[in-house]
Point group: C2
Chain length 344, copies 2
């Protein structure tokens, strides 16, 4: 059993913790919280040992939570640390704590690529995290793009260049202070947005440019993709590629999937934890070929898409399972769509 310490039990960390619990080859060593808020109490109720920073111990005690120890105690109790701290805090934690212990650490996409030795996506480069000390699971949008592009190339559809146009959700559901409201915000106004270069930390040779705007939505990101292929391919070959690629879901308008909200409604109806949808939701009706051009729209659930990637990153680091067996195990344990999927 791999003992996993989760540093940062927020939007991503709490989901990874629950995903770890669903595995039979790993378990939670503990989770680190900075504030003794309702999320900390949820961690306690889940039975997770709750650690905190040295200067927060008294605060936790006052709030009725007895900390299991400090961050360094958590690192010592873990075989691997998953850092899901807010942007840039992961790097601070590395300098302050992780460098002093000989434990592998997985960072999230909020950190710059050079925080780690390798940027990770299970479909694209599972093997590259093997034995690494520092691994970074790329961010939600980058994960979505990487899955779509890798699905194509794994299935014989060659890519000449990808131009992706992103309508980003402005905030997560719980972020009550973030906007926009009734506005569309270039994010950034310059081209490219960071997503293109970020994809290239994994798919090093892909010709990709991305543009992004933020919109008043908390539910999911939406991508409009224009991809030039290396020749003309039948649309059915592209659809078939998506249909058999794990962690891609084909949403049909005819089946009621007319928008991102309907994808999340489906997740809620399925009883998925927190109404999460870790698959890339490709709108099947949008998949269009036009000579050697491919168009498609897809949704990316920013809160959950990286969760299965973190689970696979753990197995990849320790080399306990090969790529496809890990992906399949993760998907089954998290009850992702497995019907028609080809694992290997």
């Amino acid at each position: 059993m791999i003992r996993v310490g989760i540093v940062g039990y927020g939007t991503i960390g709490k989901r990874i913790a629950d995903a770890v619990v669903a595995q039979d080859d790993m378990k939670i060593a503990g989770v680190l919280k900075v504030s003794p808020d309702y999320e900390a109490k949820v961690a306690v109720s889940r039975g997770f040992p709750v650690y905190t920073l040295p200067d927060r111990v008294e605060k936790f005690k006052k709030a009725g939570i007895e900390p299991a120890g400090t961050i360094e105690d958590l690192i010592k109790a873990s075989d691997v640390v998953v850092d899901a701290s807010p942007e840039d805090v992961g790097r601070e934690n590395k300098e302050k704590y992780y460098q002093r212990y000989d434990k592998p650490v997985i960072f999230q996409g909020g950190e710059e690529a050079d925080v780690a030795e390798v940027s990770f996506n299970a479909l694209a480069n599972y093997e590259e995290a093997r034995g690494k000390r520092y691994v970074r699971v790329v961010s939600c949008n980058t994960t979505g793009i990487t899955r779509v592009l890798t699905s194509l190339t794994l299935n014989g559809v060659g890519i000449k260049k990808a131009r992706i146009f992103i309508a980003r959700r402005g905030a997560d559901p719980k972020e009550h202070k973030k906007g926009p409201i009734n506005d569309v915000v270039p994010n950034p106004a310059t081209v490219p947005s960071h997503h293109g270069p970020d994809v290239q930390t994994i798919l090093r040779n892909v010709d990709i440019v991305t543009m992004a705007v933020a919109v008043p939505v908390t539910i999911m990101h939406m991508h409009m993709a224009y991809i030039e292929l290396d020749s003309a391919y039948p649309k059915d070959q592209v659809i078939e590629a998506f249909a058999k690629t794990p962690r891609i879901f084909l949403a049909d308008v005819g089946a009621g999937f007319q928008s991102l909200a309907q994808v999340i409604e489906y997740a809620r109806d399925l009883g998925r934890p927190r109404g999460d949808f870790p698959e890339v939701a490709v709108f099947r009706d949008s998949v269009t070929t036009h000579g050697n051009e491919l168009y498609l729209m897809y949704g990316v659930h920013q809160e959950s898409i990286v969760v299965p990637e973190n689970i696979d990153a753990i197995r990849s680091i320790f080399g306990t399972l090969p790529k496809w067996r890990s992906i399949e195990k993760t998907d089954k344990s998290l009850k992702l769509t497995t019907e028609g999927k080809r694992y290997g």
Copy 2:
């Protein structure tokens, strides 16, 4: 003085009416309203003769508005009719009324292209409406795209193909029943959206594909454009083209234009009627060249962008002014941005 009858005094019609009032070569013959609501009362307070449909006369009287006559009386009192009815109602009006009178009619972009002999954009094909009986001013998004592409070609920047990705405003500010709220809706899920073919009703040979999603915004549409040019051009040449093209405004992030809402705030600060912004608002920072590729983002104010186009369409039909003199006269009378603009 050209006497202009406005059929449909809603979002577009009321703006065209005010724009007509600002001209010294045309005047309002009257406006047609179907409901005696607050907009009808605004029309009365503006001093416009208010006409209605035959079966609505009593309703208007009960509401305290004495109609000046019926739609046929309005047609008779006009030299030209601008039909700004809801989608498809323009065509019904044509079949029911306009065909029986020998007066030119201008339709809006909500109607299909074949309602008219020519689709119109002042920059692109001003001369083609000359002497026509039925003219159609294309819709807001189509007008925005047509201006941007025409600005490039008029200034020596050749276009190979245009791929435009649109985050549409979900509703106008007054449309209280329309959505989405907290959702991104493929609009449509199929590719292309109608905008590409609609641009081709004016720029017949342009290779264009468009995709669109609707977002929870009432303020403006946002376009992300990817344009392949016929060779590499310096970015400055593109910026210069936009800078001197009438009805295109370059919004600098450094000057505070960080989003669409800031563009509208500027219009409000300028004291523009209804806070309108009929110019295409190009985010200067987004204009990027990359080999022969051009990227940019721009906002399109759906409520007002077609207003100056309708004024020019009237002059074009009657041949009272050549293209650039009409555009300049319209822009000055409506107090659009004229600094640095080249009219001719």
